[in-house]
């Protein structure tokens, strides 16, 4: 097996965090739902991990207490986020690291690019990091003449394929091994490769080893950072993270400001919650901790930079109901149990954060008022499976409903005449008035029965007009019967054997 070429030149398609309009969930889902290979790959993967997670969690007698502890720790941290971040800065600085504050993606990329350039780095190696996907760091570095190499196997796969991640934890979940084999043969120039996982991993390893040894700069995200000690933590499964954070002389970590935790002891809770929720493991294979720089000891990178990223997070924090979204520890359990995600996959969300957590995080981070991200809170049947598994108890259905309210109010208040004349808005306003008045309501019941006659054939409605046609594309509908329940109730009293039921209203 020989590897002859590769430069990461392919551009990933734009998403909610790029400039310009993205398609709505509804539009993108149509395409994903029709992809039989994707449906098979995703159905198999999510069902397997879902079952394994249930077993791993059932082993813990105090799981509910742990979830509550995780939630409480996160919400306390968020309440005092300003203090903890300043404390983190002090701790990291004391340990020889440098801390940078980035208001948005552009500022974060500029800081990181500047660090790489100051070391004349033409190549950087990366640990899987969604924060850097959020800021589009790879594209930025490419523009600056710096090649960013993804070293996580799945991240490498999607980088080679010129795609975006479709899952928080397993970015290439939408691909099966024969697709990966073909990709490696094509992009890495590997000859006679089987589709056995060890062979595929070995092909990636041969390719990446050289990069680990030659790169001057490593870039990582962070799962946690302890304010008390300044210790940053990355949790991973492949060991590539350990290589990136220890081999290159310069290490840069980009971290969302919500990732800080107060004390070392808090790991006790999160290290139990995270692996079981994400990979269904009692303990993950590699957990790397580092505190500042090597300071001449020869142990670890000589230079360490921590870039703290806001990029909309303080806006999320300002929203009393929405702020619980910042509890997220990126375990992806909500994706794996979501019946919507299982069928559409992550790309339909057009965001680096797909699935239920992405549906609440994305529109909050990028702001309400764009058709793509605004469609995400509606990409849910509100079944509540996500809330049930969330290790930090984010009430995702509640936040989804809350965001739907914000989106509608934004349309009504800022959308001008078009917003007001939107057919859904007009219908909802009319129904609101009807439901507020008994006489109007009873009249509407009669009108519905009478008005449906052109649609009902042999006791069934096969086709509805306009937006409602979505229903009858695959489902029949029962027509409105002649006698409503309340009509029946009025007729009963006389001669009815009932034991004194009352027909009175309470008001």
């Amino acid at each position: 097996m020989t590897i002859i070429r590769h430069q990461p030149e392919k551009q990933a398609p734009p998403d909610a965090f790029s400039k310009g309009r993205t398609p709505t969930f509804e539009e993108s889902a149509k395409e994903s739902l029709a992809n039989s290979q994707l449906r098979r790959n995703l159905g198999k993967a999510t069902q397997t991990i879902r079952r394994k997670r249930a077993v791993a969690v059932a082993e813990m007698p105090d799981w509910e207490e742990l979830r509550e502890a995780g939630r409480a720790l996160k919400s306390r941290t968020l309440r005092h986020l300003d203090d903890y971040l300043v404390q983190l800065e002090e701790s990291v600085t004391r340990a020889g690291g440098q801390v940078h504050w980035a208001r948005d993606a552009e500022e974060a990329n500029r800081i990181i690019g500047g660090i790489a350039k100051s070391h004349d780095a033409k190549e950087v190696v990366k640990v899987k990091s969604i924060a850097t996907d959020e800021t589009k760091l790879n594209e930025y570095l490419e523009g600056e003449g710096i090649a960013a190499y993804e070293t996580d196997l799945a991240e490498l796969i999607i980088q080679l394929a010129g795609e975006t991640s479709s899952h928080i934890l397993v970015p290439a979940i939408h691909k099966n091994r024969s697709e990966i084999r073909e990709l490696f043969m094509r992009e890495l120039g590997v000859e006679d490769l089987s589709d056995e996982p060890p062979d595929l991993a070995n092909a990636a390893r041969l390719y990446l080893r050289k990069k680990f040894l030659s790169a001057k700069v490593g870039i990582s995200g962070a799962n946690f950072a302890v304010a008390e000690t300044g210790t940053v933590c990355v949790v991973e499964s492949e060991g590539n993270g350990r290589m990136c954070t220890t081999l290159p002389p310069v290490l840069v970590t980009l971290m969302g400001i919500e990732k800080v935790i107060p004390a070392w002891q808090d790991y006790e809770v999160f290290m139990q919650l995270l692996p079981r929720s994400s990979t269904a493991e009692r303990m993950n294979p590699y957990t790397s901790f580092w505190t500042g720089s090597s300071q001449g000891s020869g142990d670890g990178p000589e230079e360490f930079h921590l870039v703290l990223l806001d990029n909309g997070r303080t806006d999320v924090l300002a929203d009393e109901i929405g702020r619980q979204s910042l509890n997220c520890i990126r375990c992806s359990a909500c994706l794996n149990v979501c019946p919507v995600y299982e069928r559409t996959g992550g790309h339909a969300y057009n965001s680096v954060y797909p699935g239920p957590i992405g549906a609440i995080l994305t529109p909050q981070l990028v702001g309400i008022g764009q058709s793509g991200p605004d469609s995400l809170p509606y990409a849910s049947s509100l079944c509540g499976a996500c809330y049930e598994v969330c290790p930090v108890k984010i009430n995702i259905p509640q936040v989804l409903i809350h965001l739907r309210g914000k989106i509608v109010r934004h349309k009504q208040d800022e959308g001008g005449l078009m917003g007001k004349l939107d057919p859904e808005n007009v219908a909802m306003q009319a129904m609101g008035r009807i439901f507020s008045n008994r006489k109007l309501y009873e009249g509407a019941q009669k009108a519905a029965h009478i008005g449906q006659w052109p649609l009902a054939k042999n006791g069934t409605i096969h086709r509805l007009p306009g937006k409602l046609a979505g229903w009858t594309e695959a489902r029949d509908l029962k027509p409105v019967p002649e006698q409503t329940f309340r009509d029946w109730w009025k007729t009963r009293g006389k001669g009815s054997p009932s034991n004194g039921s009352s027909g009175d209203g309470a008001s």
Binding site: F25, E26, K30, L33, P339, V340, R343, T344, Y378, A379, S380, S381, L382, C383, G384, A385, Y387, I401, R404, G405, V408, E424, N425, M428, M431, G432, F435, N437, R438, Y441, Q445, A448, T460, L468, G470, W471, E473, A474, R475, D476, L477, K478, V480, P481, Q483, T484, F485, R486, W488, W489, S498, N499, G500, S501, S502, G503, D504, G505, A506, S507
Partner: protein, 244 residues
């Protein structure tokens, strides 16, 4: 017990037979049923679709209509879920402390039918007779919002003549989700497809649940496929006796 029937606008208009069955069942068990005729809609569709300002008058109306009853019973898990779990959020949005207090007090008195029977009154055998092969779909809101647990199954197990078969992957959403079924019709139907497959695998003639909204979705799919399987609300099975 004197109970107020919260029929829900959906059942009132589209499924009156479920309402009639609920009344018959409750009366057979010795309860006195009142039907406050000023009731309309709880506001769930408006609230969950984002039209929350529009839902607030409906929340107030519900409190006025049902506030004085000791127990309110509805043959719908999702409408009870709205009242019990989401009315406080609506009151907070309205920034109305009095309303918040009222809905919190009222929430404790509103029950989905099966939880009223099993958890509130301790009845698991309602004396029903239903000689059919039936499978039960636990709707998401009764399962995860109201946490009615096995109450509906306990009631069904005690029905005479019934051939009750377990639904595979029962806890997975059927894909209805209110306006989701229309707004994201493709995804909704993809979810429905798997639910129908599981229902057909049971070889049941009837699929039952505690919510006619989910059943309208499942039943609509079955009917379109000419599957020969019907959907029937739990209340109608429990109301059936040898006499009728």
């Amino acid at each position: 017990m004197r109970v107020a029937l919260f029929i829900t606008c959906f059942n009132d208009t589209l499924f009156p037979e479920t309402g009639r069955a609920t009344v018959e069942l409750l009366e057979r068990l010795g309860h006195e049923v009142a039907f406050p005729q000023e009731q309309t809609c709880c506001g769930q569709m408006h609230f969950n679709t984002g039209y929350q300002r529009e839902a607030i008058p409906l929340v107030r109306r519900f409190v006025e209509v049902f506030g004085d009853y000791d127990a309110v019973v509805a043959p719908s898990g999702s409408c009870v879920g709205m009242v019990r779990e989401l009315y406080p959020m609506a009151a907070e949005l309205a920034n109305d402390k009095k309303l918040l207090y009222e809905v919190e007090e009222l929430g404790d008195k509103v029950f989905e039918l099966s939880e009223f029977l099993v958890n509130k009154t301790g009845v698991t055998d309602v004396g029903a007779y239903y000689p059919h092969r039936v499978t039960y779909h636990p709707t998401c809101h009764s399962l995860r919002m109201l946490k009615v647990g096995d109450a509906p199954l306990e009631l069904l197990r005690n029905v005479r003549g019934i051939d009750l078969v377990e639904l595979p992957e029962a806890k997975e959403c059927c894909g209805f989700g209110g306006t989701f079924a229309v707004k994201n019709a493709d995804t909704s139907v993809a979810m429905l497809g798997d639910k129908l497959r599981h229902v057909l695998d049971t070889e049941a003639e009837i699929c039952t649940a505690g919510d006619n909204s989910c059943l309208m979705h499942i039943g609509g799919g079955l009917k379109r496929q000419r599957a020969g399987v019907r959907t029937v609300h739990l209340a109608e099975i429990l109301a059936s006796t040898e006499e009728r």
